[in-house]
């Protein structure tokens, strides 16, 4: 059903899930919206509900309690969608490495399209991650 129209990657709406992060990455995501970086000029905005989202920004190492919720939010997001893992946490656990409470990495819970490493990831890196997501969307459109 879902079509990848041309306007798609110029109007990405992002939903932010915190799966147990230390809040460092979350603040950097908000920093990307501030006047200094202003991602709204690329049509990106943060939305309050996964139903409106095209991009899921997942921060944190996925704790045992949050795994179910992350999966659920992923399923609630309408297709086509892109998942961006922000921060090293989701990749390896970072400072929470080998904690008894983790079920990550994130890629074992939901399919991740783009990784943005960093602890925390810098706003520039997050913006670059979004451009990587554009590339991915464009290649998907090419296939159709």
């Amino acid at each position: 059903m879902a079509k990848l129209t041309k306007s798609f990657h110029r109007a990405l709406w992002a939903f932010h899930i915190n799966s147990g992060s230390c809040n460092g990455c979350d603040i950097e995501i908000v920093a990307a919206l501030t006047p200094r970086y202003d991602v709204e000029r690329f049509g990106i905005k943060l939305v309050g509900s996964p139903r409106h989202a095209d991009v899921l920004l997942v921060t944190g190492p996925v704790t045992r309690k949050m795994a179910k919720e992350v999966r659920r939010v992923y399923e609630q997001t309408p297709d086509p969608k892109v998942v961006i893992g922000v921060g090293v946490c989701g990749m390896s656990g970072c400072v929470f490495y080998e904690s008894y409470n983790l079920v990550g990495p994130l890629s074992e819970i939901i399919p991740v399209d783009v990784w943005v490493p960093g602890c925390p990831a810098r706003p520039e890196a997050i913006i670059q991650g979004v451009t990587k997501a554009w590339e991915k969307l464009e290649s998907l459109r090419g296939k159709k």
Binding site: M1, T5, S7, A11, G43, G48, S49, R51, H52
Partner: protein, 344 residues
């Protein structure tokens, strides 16, 4: 009324509709751009709303399991349709509206309520606790902004019926009558102050009517996840988006038609099609200026009110200002001449 008239009307309806849609989205683009500039950001391009709509129509439309599907799907269409109907009542510059003479300001206040009502229904039908809370909040705001609006409308209608007391054929308070007779010119000093008060309240009530900051308690993204719209996605969300944009233009258009029905063409001494085009452009510019004061400036300046504060502000403060305005308009015919004698 032959076939020609019928065809012409249909053509006019489609033209108004298409123009209204494009202008509404464009104005939303200007809105976002200006807001961004006021916050020292660059902001999205002017065509961003078009891209948003294009994207939303391309997305999946999810119907939640515990929703009421027919109502859930009907609400966005009802919202869009009722908002679009508003457009047909607004005189576009020097052109008369499509439905001129078939409804007046009182009907318009009811029509203005319908998109919000559709939103509320959709919120209840989507079966999510967030949406239900949002819908209840929206109902409370709807009740609270209706009162000041209706007082303002009564004052304006009062003014108009005094102009045409005994003419049953004239729709005394249709928007076309307002455009034809400048309300400011018909009153003395007291009425002038009264009308200014009513205009002030109308500008602020527009914000509440469109559920924008500081009155956006029903959508409140940061507390209740988009509230009414929490479950909506894809095409349904796009229709709500369009309905919201059109309603903003309609509300701005109503204020312009009542309070600022000036046209440029008499000044430039042009006529015919050219004049209509110039007036139309000027009309949209006026709408943007009105919306600048009632949406953008307020949104950048203040944060969201609490739900009880919304009701307090709209019921008490706005209604009080409107009642004072109504009284001033009422006493104007007697007091202003007295003032003139004293002054002279």
């Amino acid at each position: 009324m032959g076939l020609d008239f019928f065809l012409f009307s249909i053509l006019f309806v489609f033209l108004t509709m298409g123009l209204g849609l494009v202008v509404a989205l464009f104005i939303r683009g200007i809105d976002r751009k200006l807001t961004a500039h006021m916050q020292a950001r660059i902001g999205p391009p002017l065509r961003q709303p078009f891209l948003d709509i294009g994207k939303l129509f391309g997305k999946d439309t999810i119907i939640p399991e515990n929703s009421i599907p027919w109502l859930y799907n009907l609400a966005p269409i009802a919202c869009f349709a009722s908002a679009a109907t508003l457009l047909f009542y607004i005189p576009l510059g020097s052109l008369d509206s499509v439905l001129a003479g078939r409804g007046d300001l009182v009907l318009l206040t009811y029509l203005l309520l319908l998109p919000s009502l559709a939103l509320t229904l959709g919120g209840f039908a989507s079966g999510s606790p967030y949406a239900t809370v949002g819908a209840q909040r929206e109902m409370v705001t709807m009740v609270s902004y209706e009162f000041p609006i209706i007082i303002g409308v009564v004052a304006l209608a009062w003014q108009m019926t005094m102009l045409f007391p005994f003419d049953p054929n004239l729709y005394a308070f249709s928007l076309s009558a307002f455009s034809a007779h400048l309300v400011w010119a018909e009153v003395g000093l007291f009425g002038w102050v009264g009308l200014a008060l009513i205009l002030f309240v109308f500008l602020l009530v527009t914000t509440g009517e469109l559920a924008k900051v500081p009155f956006d308690v029903g959508e409140a993204e940061t507390e209740i996840a988009g509230g009414l719209l929490a479950e909506y996605s894809g095409r349904n969300l796009a229709l709500f988006y369009l309905g919201d944009c059109i309603k903003a233009v309609a509300m701005g258009g109503i204020i312009v038609a009542i309070f600022f029905p000036f046209n440029l063409s008499p000044l430039l001494s042009i006529s015919g099609l050219q004049a209509n085009a110039v007036d139309l452009l000027f009309f949209f510019v006026k709408i943007i200026i009105v919306l600048f004061f009632s949406l953008m400036l307020i949104r950048v300046g203040v944060a969201r009110l609490k739900i009880n504060q919304v009701v307090d502000v709209q019921w008490f403060t706005f209604s009080l200002i409107c009642i004072v305005g109504l009284l001033l308009v009422w006493v104007d015919p007697w007091l202003s001449p007295v003032l003139g004698i004293l002054g002279g």
